[in-house]
Subunit: 316 residues, 2 copies
């Protein structure tokens, strides 16, 4: 049984039934769930005003919980980053509290790592992953349970087939493998592309060389995804990594004026601008099936045919 | 009579009737209009592939025209910035060619200024400003004609009324004037907020201290406008300016979940984070009535009641 602390640093929780359903499902897994007193606060689009959300973050850090999970993402962390006492969060991490989430949570993860080097976790949130009426995703839940049991040590996934012929593991121009040799001991980081790029040039953007950069996004047209990737490219961030791993990019609409321009066009263009391998299809993002990954831990990355693996061994 | 060179560095021109209408209207003003051979090229969503658009930019620089005007904005300049020979453009500026445009064109203006210090102009494009069936805006056209006659020396506008009571020229908390003393000799720069922030951290972002930063955008929800302004804030860009002047932010949709959060909320929050005055309502952006402003020239900025003025004297 683990102690899970639930708090709301970003957007307001509108669907309270979903929230309660999520809490109940986490309890049904045998966990002690503690809900922050302002988890359901609202202030316009936010889960309380800035001071309220900051206090919630610091209560989560002081909770002594095994896991601090956000109720949902949305928007709200970026603007309160200067008020977050990242050293207090890092001390909580040292005491065994794992901070988990995705989407807007990327902002907190970046600031925490940039300022303290503390590890946090890309993974589920209450509303999206445990609160919806649909059945809870098996893989997501198993990854979270592994994390709490300190048994998580890696995640495998399948690269997509391209051209109905072969896996997206080969350079389309040279036909050489994208990842000829395994990547060893590279710090994994990243998260939501929009949130991550909104931190470029600020003190909250991690300076990581030789890492594995993981990216996902929702409701961003491929041209906007390309523009954000181009910012990271021109800022020199991508060339400093050992690999870029794209997760799920979902819920965008192509337009008639795109005339064949699509997400794969942006990926192909990025690969043409970069020697660093760009892998695809990692199950993270705004999708039910998401794996749990450590932001800030060294990992190995391997590809064999369509099979890809990120491995960090025991994280303790 | 001026020589106007029209080229397409960004999105494809889909509405060819509008393009021809714009060309005809510029000719009807008495100008010699030269159309780039690839002005109507298409490659997926772009006005030709990257090499085609780069060649068009360099032909515009070599044209010897008085004015180099883009057909339209959209998206396409950011990814070709490394291929633009900005020194060739700067030499064209020295010879008397004025580069004009807005929206995606902000990327070229930023790169040009960052790498050479050359001045360009925020102003109209063919499709949006001369091509639509509606009558051409008087003010926009007069500003362009003034630029070509070398008579442009400033633009005035009215600050909006807030609370139906007084102009948006006073700090809402202290009731003190936002701009108590005129700003003198401050380099004007900026443009489209999305495009400008997509250059933060790259070699194409101008390093300007003590400037007047002008910003506009289209189809961005206020929370996204706020997130972009927050990036500029946390990157230290805003605090280094003498004034921020917001233009028109148009065509976004508020959502039921905003619960009262709106553009003014983001502006109020920004003002609470910043000692630099934030003025509003400048007529630039994705609107018919737009003034022409020099990107890279020192300007004066004055406020008297509801009347605001940006003044640069003769630019030659």
């Amino acid at each position: 049984m683990s102690h899970i602390y639930i708090y709301s640093p970003s957007s307001a929780q509108r669907d309270k039934a979903a929230f309660r359903r999520g809490v109940a499902r986490l309890q049904a897994l045998g966990h002690e769930v503690e809900v922050d007193p302002d988890a359901l606060a609202t202030h316009m689009r936010f889960a309380g005003d800035d001071a309220t959300r900051l206090a919630a973050v610091h209560r989560a850090a002081a909770s002594g919980a095994d896991l601090a999970m956000i109720s949902r993402g949305g928007y709200g962390l970026t603007r309160i980053l200067p008020g977050i006492r990242t050293k207090a969060l890092a001390r909580a991490v040292e005491r065994g509290t794992r901070f988990v989430g995705f989407s807007d949570f990327t902002a907190l993860q970046c600031a925490l790592y940039a300022q303290t080097g503390a590890v946090s976790w890309m993974g589920p949130v209450v509303h999206d992953d445990f609160g919806r009426p649909e059945v809870v995703d098996d893989i997501m839940q198993a990854c979270l349970q592994d994390l709490l049991a300190e048994q998580g040590e890696g995640s495998g996934w399948q690269l997509p087939r391209v051209a109905a012929r072969k896996p997206d593991a080969f350079d389309a121009r040279t036909d050489k493998p994208l990842l000829a040799r395994p990547v060893r001991n590279a710090v994994l980081w990243g998260g939501n592309l929009s949130v991550l790029t909104s931190l470029v040039g600020t003190p909250y953007f991690p300076q990581i060389d030789g890492g594995v950069l993981v990216l996902e996004d929702i409701a961003e047209h491929p041209y906007r995804i390309e523009r954000m990737l181009t910012q990271l490219l021109h800022a020199g961030v991508l060339a400093r990594q050992k690999a870029i791993v794209l997760g799920q990019f979902t819920q965008y609409q192509l337009a008639p004026n795109d005339k064949g321009y699509k997400l794969q066009t942006a990926i192909d263009w990025l690969r043409s601008q970069l020697r660093v391998p760009v892998l695809t299809n990692l199950p993270i993002g705004h999708v039910p099936t998401k794996v749990v990954l450590p932001f800030g831990l060294p990992v190995d990355l391997l590809v064999d045919g369509r099979d890809a693996l990120i491995y960090w061994g025991h994280a303790h």
